[in-house]
Each structure stands twice: as structure tokens, then as C-alpha cells.
Point group: C3
Chain length 439, copies 3
């Protein structure tokens, strides 16, 4: 007798609904920034896989302590020799022009140009990623080795950009659940050709949305936010006060495409998401580290600001600022791997399923152990091997801890058992009429 | 000046009131089971040492989620060769017939017999202990080495047993205290010829009862329960709802006769008994381990079920399922030693005395230290060696922590001092009019 | 742009207001005891540096559980050979006569004298420090090596002392703060020629008072108590019930002149002073150990008695009873060093300043991060090196934790940053209108 489907809470289909790395490669060349057509094209491409709602918020709109910035339109940029040879061309790599560069056209001396050139002397072949959102200046980002060869007295520089009233663009998707509460997954979309940071997060989030939209009907709603960093999160928060009380769990996803170990940064308030992610990482056997909350990082900074203090953690593999490819042209499509992307997808799917399945049960008669034999539950489970699924021991844990004060995750953590096994045992006991859910 | 009797809280007589190992040997051959005359004879024998009340609960009586089972009467059982040679005889070892075997009389082929034979191939000389309380089947338990020699084509099998309405038998004893609250010690009595599991617990419990009955008058009542495992505890719980609110501390005793280190399994709710046992083990210098609560084990499973959540821990030496003699004929009278039994007896006596002596005192004037000199308490104690009893430091701890929020055990734990010393110092301070008990 | 003065909260002048070791040497020979002119002269000498209020409490005055003792006047004491040669003379070292010795004049046999002689056989050149406040006896304290040479049959002994109604003397000083709450620093003044125990505490406390009196105006008042041990603290407590509710933090200072590592004994109740001292020790890079509260030691025993349970810790360098110089003539002016005294002074000044500066701030709009750029705060701080002062990270911590539930010290501890940096960042944010203080 085998009542137990040990993977009952796992994804219906553990395979991602589309090829993640293919989408990374497709999105890679699009010239994203805080605003502008690069983000619009990116969201349009993602919208081929999931039904995304696109929001446009006009420049100048007050959002919390900020205003939506002017829109930056970028059409081209180059450095040429006075002979007309093109030395640096934005069309070849959109990292070459500093984000939010003002327009410039003319000839400058090498000395003047030097003040507008960004290189990485310690990584001489890499192009750095730089922005100057509020600085009203322009700049080029190039390999240090190239700059060393640029010894002419003067150069022709052109940046065909425009900073003008327009709008900030973000994408949103909401799949309702049975109840009013929801899980939010947020990814930043404002970086140009950087694959791990954060095309990886974007494609994993899109795949989660597609999976959930494909017929799954969960208890918790799932909301996915594709936001320009900082100002996008602030804009979304300012426009969604009514949604906030329904957010039960939140997760920022970033840099989840490299093959390194996972890093999970806990929420500011020590929310249940922290234990859920920790549980899945631990019982999944993933090399990982759990990091304390700090107020630096990604948009958890906004979600966890003290006036909101929302239950958001941040899942990463490589951690910002600590890997050599970070914010350079080395963070390209080869730095993220299909296997790592899929593993990250499955991990987050497991977390979402765990959060959805977690609930609190109470023994209908908790006085003594129930007679399992006459219900066919005595050693119904015990006969299985420990590895294969829930055991008699899981059932005993559930029956003992079902006092209305322990959720299934609480039980799994106290019993040091995988959530799936505890859930399976609880399902068996509930079907046998021994447990009921606490409202 | 020596106001301090360091062993004031110890047993009046640290020697057990009767020889524990002698009683183990006397009880060993009696054919115990969940029900039946073996249990009755066992309780009658224990009743020679303590005034035991015997309860008989009719088969079929509803008890919580269960019903009292039919009574199993066992008169004999054998396997004989067709030549009439007796190969296996229950009269020689009552482990030979599986508990609650249905009657069988006849000749069976070796092949059919094999389905009813239980052996331990890895311990070929040991007889396993097996039961089938609810299975309506029969079986023999024999050494694997014997089974290997049984190569005849057919054998004569006889089990002269009866499964019929009768009653479940358990023993109970209650020695009232000054107050309404009580300590409960519970032991299972349903195992046949297994000495450590649980004749050891039974004789230690009987000795504790005899000691307490012999003129000691404690604050807490002492209740000792001699119960068939699981169904006995469930039956007792179902019939004693009125007693439950008075249970301040509870202890299940099992496998306390082997000479190995102690194992104490904490209560589900983290009750004070856990700290008391831990304190006595630690300060007694006993090798020991403290184990977390788990919902598997002995009758703490019932007492700590979520609807009751009573303050029961479980004291063991060897832990069920982890020692080679467990549930085999090797768990015999040689496996338990007189010294181990007595040490266990003294340990539990110390725990009971500690629980009885633990109370909360408050300084009558807690503003500043009292002037010890004019009360004859200045260095009255300090002159003694640390080893010999309470010190000036114990007195200072008591005077400082007597704020009505620390019991004597709290003080002993915070001060990292033996309870006996803290108690002695508290007695001195109370006699000097510096402390009063908190109601 | 550098808005940050990293040492803003440090002493206006980190140098002590007078030379500490000079004052130790001046006080060293004065014959202090529980009562008498030695204490009066000591307080008069300290009064040259700070305006001290001297209290005289008549002998016999009831104070809590005690009475103020008779006053001990000591004029001279000697042991002479019958030839008239002076062998031991109190005028040479005031440790030579046991504290509170009754008068004696006459010739005693060596055998009788032996019962009144205290030596340290294991430190044969040291004079022990002994008292017999309530014993009505007399005694001499001498080097064991000297005693070994005293082989005459009889000696002439003279102790010209007087135990008579008089008063107990203590000193007090209070520098008001802006608010009603205060910090108390208490030192014992009753030991004769022992430099570390406790001239060190006395001169550090006097210097703290002089520093604070010199124009600093703090939020918290500062009260310094110069008290004879035990009975002095009890007397002060009995006479100052009205002050007690205003004591926010308290610190007993003792043995702070030797060059060893610091030892801080935590308060009984786990008061904020514990975290403040721990923080300053840790971030100051001082070798140190934090000790749990115990009811033995200095006057924290009285302040932390259960009826008061005031927030007092005790700061020491060498710990009573654990260093060879303790309570002997080896605890002299060479055992305490100018550098150690000054370091202790600065440490306590830092603690007092931290306690004074600690407060709770709340974000005026805590929804999202504020736009630092338009306030000139974006990387206003980040440009500085970590070592030089507060960083952008400190500012982010402050902005994130300013939820009205974290004091600046809470923030510093959670961020694992020096308090001074967090305070500097909070000052910047407050000046920018981002924070307000919680009442």
C-alpha cells in the first residue's frame, strides 16, 4: 500500500516551459536602461511567453520621495579617428556608452576625452558598465587595452542620444490564487548587455509565470514584476498601496544564471520566506549560503524599507560586487549556463510550491495516538525506504505536531525532514479524517 | 558553625528498599503480553513490595480512538518433528511464540511453516521478540541457527492459545503529597522475557514507590503506573481526565538496567522535568546525553500527544532499536546489572526529591544585601570546603536571585551550582528570616 | 564634500583633565578605612579637582538592614622588641594594622602574638590587607619573612586606635543633564594603601567628573559616588530612594590602573550599559572579556540586589582575587601605570558619551529609500575611506533601521559598525530632514 506521492508538491512538469538560455541570448543585445525602447523591446519579447501588462509612467510623475526621470533615447555612439576610422561603436556593444549620456558631437583632444573614458585597468580586455542617471554628463566605456593604443592628439566623438520627457516602462503579471494573498517575484530589467545581471532573473521569472499560468491553480496568487532598478520599484510601490497588504511572501531574483553556489539574503523582518528558501536549499542538497539582511543590494532595499518592511528576500548565485565578471562585458551569454538557469528555475518553483502548500493542520482528536491499524495506516508508509518518500515517522511527526500551532514547514523543520514527505504524510492523515485545516 | 546539611534533599536511605536484581530474576520468566495472566502475576509479585491497585478494563471498552483488545491467554506452544521430538517449546522461553498468536494445531510443510518463522540471520543464536496484536495470525520466533537445522519436509505445530473477551490489566499506586500536584512515573509491563525492556523500569518504579511509601511525606504526590504499552497508556488517559490537571511532572522509565550511559529524551513542551533530569545527570557526573523530543518511543508518545501535551520525559540507558540485545532473547537477566539498576534508582530518587524541593522564594527585604554577620551567617558557610556543601557563594546567589521569579532550580542552573547546595543555602536563609516562599 | 566628523562623539579633549598617576601617588599613603579621617582627607584631596559634596552619616543610623558602624580612629601602631627596637610600625605602611583593630597596649608572648599576626607564606615579602569590621579584635599584618625572624619570647604591642560614635563619610557629585535621567559611576574609597584597588577607580572617576563639569552639557546627568564599600553603598541607597528611578545606567569602577586586559561584568538585568561597554571595548580593539553577573564582587552587589535591580555593571582590568598583588602591599603605585589609567579614563569617557548620544530616530518618510542625490548625500560619504569615518553603507543602515524601534546603538550592533560612524550618518540624515527623534 503506497498512499504517498513523495513529489506531490513538486512542479507538475519540472522542465521549464521554454528554453531559458535561448531567451537570454535573444534579449542580450537589446539596449536596456532605466527607461526607453530597450526595456520596451525586452518586455515585448518576454510577452511572447507570458501575458504581460506593460505600464508607462510619465516622466516627472511624483513617486514617493522621487520623480520619474526623463526618458533616455539612444540611437548611436562612436569614437572615430580624425581619419574617420571607427574605434569604438555602440552598435557593437551597448555597454560602450555610459547610461544616460547626454548628446555630444565634435572633436575633442585626447586629454579632454580622457575625462570621459571609463576602463578597468585590472581587467584590460573588459568593457565596464557605467551609468550617470542624474549627472548630466557623457562617457564611453572601453577596454583598457584599447585605450592604451589610442594615442592620437584628438578624436571625433558622437553620441546620438536624447534625454526628454517620456515615460518609465515596467511589466507586471498577476495570476490569481484561490485566496487573497500572493507571492511576489521581482526582477530588475534596466541593465543592458549583462547576462547574469539580470537576464538570468528575468528569464527565470518569465518561466515561473508561464508555468503557473499553464493551468496550475494555487492557493496564493503569483505576481511577477519586471522593474527598472530602484526607481522602478519605487514607482511600483507608490502605485500599488492596495496590493501591499496582500503580499505574503516576496522574492527578488538576480544573478541566478552562473553555475556557482546559491546565496540567499534574508528578509529584513525574518519572514517565513527565509525559512522556506533555506529549507529547499538544504534539503535539495544545493551548495549555498544564507546571508543576513543588509540595506545594500537590489530592490529588496525598497521593499524592505522601514515604512513597508515587506517580507522580501533576495536569491542570487554570484553576489554583486564579488565576482570578476560583475558589471563588465565578461558577464555575457557564456557566463550563464543552461543547466544553472534550469536549476535556479526549479529551485524557485519548489519554493513557490512549498509556500503554496504550507498550511496549518490540527488533529481532530489529539488525545493519544489514533489507531492507525484500522485505518490502514499502520506501516502503510513504514514499508517504504526512507529515500523514497514519507515514512511512518513522518506520519508520527505530523500527528504529534498537528496542534494548530505548527505549519507543515514548522513540522518539517522540527522533524528535520523534507517538506514533501511531511506534506505527503499530512495529506494521508487528512484523507483518513485525522486532521482538519485551521482557518 | 555548620548550618548546612549538603545532602538534605537526598533520599533518607540511598539504598533501594529491596534487591532490584532479585526481583528482575523473579519476574523474568512470567509470560507477559498486552493482556492476560502473565501481567496479572507480574503485578501480584510487585504487589508484595508495594500496595498496588489492580485495574481490569473489559475487552471492547472504548478508550479514546481505540477499543480494549480481546484478552490473550497462552497455555503452550511447540514445534515437533513428525517423530515426536520437541524442537521448540514455549515453556522453555516465552519469546518462542509470537505475541497474540492465534491457536494452531496440525502438521505443516516446511515451506508453509517458513512463512510463520521469525529469525535474526545476523544474530543467529538469538530469539527475536515479535507480536501481531491486530493481525490474526500465528508465528514462532527461533534462533536462525536452529532454523537452519530444521530440514524435514513437515512438522507438527501446536499453539494452545485463546483470543477471547476478557480484560486489560494495569497497576496503579498513588502516594499523596501535602499539595494537590503530583509526579507520575510510568513503566510498560507488556513485554515477556526481556529484562532491560522493561523489567528494569518496573523494578526501579516499584522501589521508588516503596521508598516514598515508607514514611516520606512530600509536597508532591507520587503516582506510579504499570501499563501495557500504548493501549494501556491510552486506557489510563481515557479513565483519568480528572487527574491530568494535577500532573506537574511525568517520567517514563525504560531500559534502565544496562550499565551504559543515561539517555534522557526531553518532553514535547520543554517542561521543568527536562531541566531537573539534566541538572541531576550533569551534577551527578553521570555520562549521559539529552535527546530532543521525537514522537516515536514509549508511552511519552501518548502522554505528549497534542491534545494532552503533558510534561513527560523519558529516561533510558540503552536506547530502543540501537543496541544488539534490543527485542531479542539476549536482553536477559545478565544484560541488566545490580549496580546499574541501583544507580538508576538513585538517580530517579534524586530527580523526584529535587522536583519536590524546588520552590520559589523571595527576599523579605531585597534592598541591598542583608547583614549576615549579626545573624551568624557571615562565613558561617564559607569556611566549609566547596566539595562538602553549600558555600558563602551559594548564599549570595540565593539572596540575589530570590526575587520571586527564580525557583531554586533556576538559581542552581544560573549559578552553575548543585541544587543541593542552593537548597541548603536557601534553607539557612529562610530559617534566618531572610526569605519567604512565594505562594 | 565631507559632512562627517567621525569622532564627533568623542571627548572634547581626550586627555584627562589632570595627571591621574600623580593623584594616585598623593592619595596612596592616606590611612583610609570604612570611616575616619583617612577617607575625609582623601575626599578633600579629590575635592581640589572637582566640587565634591561630603556627607557625614552618624554612627548608629539605621540604613536598610544595617546600622552605620562606629567610627574608627587610628593614630599609631607598632610591635617592638622588649629592648625597645621597633620591628613593625603602622606609620611606615598603613596595611600593618588590621582594619578596625581595637586598642591594645602591653607585652604579649610570641605565642599569644601569633594569634594576631597575618602573613602570606606564599608571598613572604608582601604585607596582607586584612580587616575585622565587626569582630572586636586586633591584629598586625606583616611579611612572612619578617615574622620568621621574630623569635623573641615576648613583644611589646601598641595599637593606639579608637572605636567610638562618629560618622560614616562619603562623597558625591552631580552634574545635571538636559533631561531628568542620569548615569551613575560608583567607586569604593575604603581601602588604605592599595593603588589599583581602588585609587585607580577613584582618580578615573574624579577625572570623568572634572571633564564633564568643564562646560560639557549632556543629555544625561552624571553622578559620581565615592563610597566606603558595602555599608557606604547601602547608606547611599537608603538615603536616595528619590534618585533611583532616574538612574538610566550605572557603572562600578575598580582596579582600572593595571596594564592588563579589561574585564566587564554584566549587570544582573542585562541592561543597555552592557551592550554599550561591550561595543566600545570591541570597536576600540581593547583586549577584554565580558563576564556574566555574579552576586560577589563590588558594590554592584548592592545596586543589583533584587529589590533594586538597578542597571549597574562593573568595569575592571585585573579581577579581584585573581592577581597576586590583590589585597597585598604589592598593589602599590608601581603596579598601576599612567598609560593604563589614561586608557581606562578614555574608555569610560567613550562609554558615557555613547550612552549620552544614543537615541532613537525614525524616518520621516520610510517608504522606499529617499533620493539622496538631490540632497547632496549620494556618495557624499562613500568617497571617504572606510577607516576615516562613516560610509554610504552607514547611511543606508541608518535609513533602513530608523523605524522607531532601533536606537543608534541597536543599529551599530546590527550593522557591526562603530557607533561613531552610525551616529555621524544619523546626524547627516537628520540635518537633511530625513529623520526625526522619537520622543
Amino acid at each position: 500500500m503506497n498512499l504517498v506521492a513523495p513529489d506531490a508538491f513538486r512542479a507538475i512538469d519540472p522542465e521549464p516551459p521554454f528554453d531559458l538560455h535561448t531567451l537570454v541570448r535573444k534579449l542580450y543585445p537589446l539596449p536596456r536602461s532605466l527607461t526607453g525602447d530597450g526595456v520596451r523591446e525586452t518586455l515585448r519579447e518576454i510577452g511572447r511567453h507570458v501575458r504581460l501588462r506593460i505600464h508607462e509612467v510619465p516622466s516627472g510623475t511624483p513617486v514617493l520621495d522621487w520623480r520619474v526621470p526623463p526618458e533616455w533615447t539612444m540611437r548611436g555612439g562612436s569614437i572615430r579617428s580624425l581619419d574617420g576610422d571607427t574605434i569604438v561603436d555602440w552598435a557593437g556593444n551597448n555597454l560602450h556608452v555610459m547610461g544616460y549620456s547626454t548628446p555630444v558631437h565634435g572633436t575633442v583632444t585626447r586629454e579632454d576625452l580622457a575625462g570621459h573614458i571609463h576602463t578597468l585597468p585590472e581587467q584590460p580586455d573588459a568593457i565596464p558598465y557605467r551609468t550617470a542617471y542624474h549627472a548630466q554628463s557623457w562617457g564611453f566605456c572601453i577596454p583598457d587595452r584599447l585605450w592604451a593604443t589610442m594615442t592620437d592628439d584628438a578624436y571625433r566623438v558622437d553620441i546620438d542620444s536624447e534625454l526628454a520627457p517620456g515615460s518609465l516602462t515596467y511589466g507586471e503579471l498577476f495570476i490569481p490564487g484561490h485566496g487573497a494573498e500572493e507571492v511576489v517575484v521581482s526582477v530588475h530589467v534596466c541593465h543592458p548587455s549583462l547576462a547574469n545581471d539580470n537576464l538570468s532573473g528575468m528569464v527565470v521569472a518569465a518561466a515561473l509565470a508561464a508555468r503557473q499560468a499553464a493551468g496550475r491553480r494555487n492557493r496564493l496568487g503569483l505576481r511577477i514584476l519586471f522593474l527598472p532598478a530602484t526607481i522602478g520599484a519605487i514607482t511600483w510601490l507608490a502605485r500599488n498601496e492596495d496590493v501591499l497588504p496582500r503580499i505574503r511572501h516576496g522574492l527578488v531574483l538576480t544573478c541566478v544564471g552562473d553555475p556557482g553556489p546559491f546565496h540567499y539574503k534574508n528578509s529584513r523582518r525574518g519572514a517565513p520566506i527565509d525559512r522556506a528558501v533555506g529549507h529547499v536549499l538544504r534539503h535539495g542538497g544545493h551548495p549555498h549560503a544564507l546571508l543576513p539582511f543588509t540595506p545594500y543590494g537590489y530592490d529588496e532595499r525598497q521593499f524592505c524599507s522601514p515604512g513597508y518592511d515587506l517580507p522580501f528576500g533576495c536569491l542570487m548565485r554570484a553576489v554583486h560586487g564579488t565576482f570578476p565578471e560583475y558589471h563588465t562585458s565578461l558577464d555575457d551569454c557564456d557566463f550563464v549556463t543552461p543547466a544553472a538557469l534550469e536549476q535556479s528555475y526549479r529551485l524557485v518553483a519548489d519554493v513557490i510550491d512549498l509556500l503554496d502548500a504550507d498550511r496549518t493542520l490540527v488533529r481532530i482528536d489529539g488525545r493519544g495516538e489514533p489507531q492507525l491499524g484500522r485505518r490502514g495506516l499502520y506501516r502503510a508508509i513504514a514499508g517504504q525506504s526512507e529515500a523514497g518518500g514519507a515514512t511512518q515517522m513522518d506520519l508520527l511527526w505530523v500527528l504529534n505536531l498537528a496542534d494548530g500551532r505548527h505549519s507543515l514547514l514548522d513540522m518539517a523543520e522540527q522533524a528535520e525532514r523534507p517538506f514533501a514527505h511531511i506534506k505527503a504524510a499530512a495529506d494521508v492523515a487528512e484523507q483518513a479524517g485525522l486532521l482538519r485545516e485551521v482557518a
